[in-house]
Amino acid sequence: MGDPALSRRGFLAASAATGLGMTALSGCGGDSDGGGSSGTTTVEWWNISTTQPTKDVWAALAKQFEAENPKVKIKIVQLENDAYKSKMTALTASGKLPDIFHTWGGGVLKQQVDAGLVEDLTDRTKEWSGGLLPVAKEPYLIDEKPYGIPFDIGMVGFWYNKAHFKKAGIAAPPTTWSGFLDAVQALKSENITPIALAGKEKWPGMYYWAYLAMRTAGADALGKANDAKDFTGDEFVQAGRHLEELVDLQPFQKGFLGAAYSTPTGQAATVGNGRAAMELMGQWAPVVEADAGKGLGDDLGFFPFPAVEGGKGAITEVFGGGGGHALRRDAPQAAVDFLKFFASAATDRRLVEKTGVLPVVPAAEDVLTDPNLQAVQKQLKSSTGFQLYLDQAYAPAVGQEVNDSVAALIAGSKSPQQVAESITKTAKEEQ
């Protein structure tokens, strides 16, 4: 037995080597063998479209691009959402990203940009990216520079059952918070469960707090608070109080604290089966409602999150996010060409038509026929402010703490003040 310090160092070296070995191994997948001998460029395209029909549509688009650009080969790597996220964290650590990769923008993209791994698209996409919907490009702007090109955009709002609203005598969807609370009470007095909520999963509850914070403190307040690592401002506490007002009315379905989102007894199914009047959810809600439950058909309507009286925010400011593609630093021109192809009106029409995303190219709007999605699109187009989903905008620990604290507020175990303090504490712990 030698010097214990030495053997400890030996162990550290060994474990470091193991760690490096692992990143190197996972890095292998990311290597692109660009620049083949025959002058063809292979572009690796990592995405998360593992479900149909998107998977086939995207593969067909890649084929089409290859046909139009004979010297380019697109190599598609598809990973399921969570697998993709963990793989990307490993790749980010190893310092090499795929040529084209899926991104949600926000904090994760910023991390990758800060590590110098992502291509600044300002100059390389200038001539054609101007035509894209401004709000769709928002998540990928870091220090005002675009680092990603969107193919999807969406937002959170209330999806409601028109029949239930009619029965409760609510003439028009509420546009103010007090109007909203009145509507909840009107529904309750008709013995209709006003709101379905997936309490087990926490993130659907967070939407309420995030929107209320946007409405009381303004659209950019959540971003600023994150930068300053301080959520204890009066307006954030106020947002919590407004949420408390809602919770005090007991508007949620029976057993909501244990309910999941997309299961047969979950939030979406409860609304989809007509057993609750509304849910606060993203633009995918109609699909999930029909998938997990029966779906409401023509009875389904959409209205934006109401404004809070006296708040700094406006009803036209949206909370949402989408999907986009970013390029690794110094990606070949073929990758930029592919982004241009993917963001063309022709491609976007096909995406909107076949895969149910919302158009990011205004010219593709003509193929959007669903009246509810049209309503969402209208709201997005006229938006005056934007906040990205907090789990993408914030560091993971902060995003989770928001979810967790708001869940505690809804369960009645944390006060609005404590919510603000908990989030601030977690934000300060992250450097």
Partner: protein
């Protein structure tokens, strides 16, 4: 170290043989080397895997627990024992410890006696005995994830099978929010755990019961012992080693409980069913505070280790010394 691989040192009969000739010795030397190589050859893959996949990660977690570390690159931000003080300040983790204790006590006080009673019943001669045994053991074969999905449907408030059945027989009042009510969730969880695991313990006890010689119970019968006395003074003491192992498995199971909770409640509502493993997962894989999660895992490891060592030292020692065959401490 190497001598343990040498077969000749443990083979006794060699000693009585006449001294070997020189060529035989050389041959045996070669054989020895050959045996040694075989042993190493067979053990090396497993050893390497064990070291790389088990030992190093454990040691690394121990190391990472002293850093603020997000899981990328190597830990560099050394913060001493801050992760541990934070863990023992965290009401959720303290709650985890309390809930773990509750589960252990409930398991030992309710689940295991129930399993024992079933085992004793099913050890009698009766029609369809094998069918009952199989039925009770079947839940153990299901994966925890499937059990979780199954019971979250059964206990779905209002719609679930449990509420429907209670409603059907006019007991609406007993229906409830099961997994959704903070004050009910642990009880419901324990019910599911009992459903899933009592069959396993029952099987252990059955095996133990069958190794008890019939002569002993017969002798007690002849001595005029009634059924309870036979159970209390013959069966139970002879079953004790099995009981001790079963308690051990039960406690370790409670400490590392994860899958079932994750699928059914994710630790909710509001942390009321969270276990240490769930808390660790939340911080490690949801929040990427891997240093802190490592500290939690070290605490879990420490608790398991201390319990396992203490249990072996004070409880299982009797089995290791063969307390069932040497009449030691017969008065107890």
């Amino acid at each position: 170290m190497t001598s343990t691989f040498l077969p000749d040192e443990r083979t006794g009969p060699d000693v009585d043989r006449p001294p070997p000739s020189a060529t035989a010795a050389r041959g045996r030397g070669r054989r020895r080397a050959y045996h040694w190589l075989t042993a190493v050859g067979f053990q090396l893959p497993a050893l390497v895997l064990f070291v790389v996949l088990v030992l190093l990660p454990i040691l690394f977690a121990l190391y990472a627990a002293f850093f603020r570390w997000g899981g990328f690159g190597m830990p560099s931000d050394y913060i001493g024992t801050e992760n541990f003080t934070r863990a023992f300040d965290d009401p959720v983790l303290l709650g985890d410890l309390w809930r773990c204790l509750v589960l252990v006590v409930l398991s030992v006080a309710l689940q295991l006696p129930f399993a024992l009673a079933t085992a004793v019943l099913l050890n009698q001669r009766m029609r369809g005995r094998a069918v009952y045994r199989m039925l009770f053991f079947a839940p153990y074969v299901l994966s925890e994830a499937i059990t979780g999905v199954l019971f979250s449907m059964i206990f779905a408030p209002g719609d679930g099978l449990a509420d429907q059945i209670l409603g059907g027989v006019g007991l609406d009042g007993l229906g409830g929010e099961w997994f959704a009510d903070p004050s009910m969730v642990m009880a419901t969880l324990f019910l599911v755990m009992t459903w899933k695991y009592f069959g396993f313990h029952m099987m252990l006890y059955l095996a133990g019961l069958q190794s008890i010689p019939k002569e002993l119970t017969e002798a007690a019968l002849i001595d005029g012992a009634n059924a309870w006395q036979r159970f209390r003074s013959v069966t139970l003491p002879l079953l004790a080693p099995t009981l001790r192992i079963s308690v051990f498995l039960s406690v370790i199971g409670a400490i590392q409980l994860f899958d079932l909770v994750w699928v059914v409640t994710q630790g909710g509502p509001d942390h009321h069913s969270e276990t240490m493993a769930v808390t660790m997962f939340q911080f490690g894989f949801k929040r990427y505070q891997v240093g802190y999660a490592s500290a939690i895992s070290v605490v879990m490891f420490g608790i398991s280790l201390v319990f396992a060592l203490a249990y072996q030292r004070f409880v299982l020692r009797r089995d290791l010394e063969g307390a069932t065959t040497t009449m030691r401490g017969g008065g107890k």
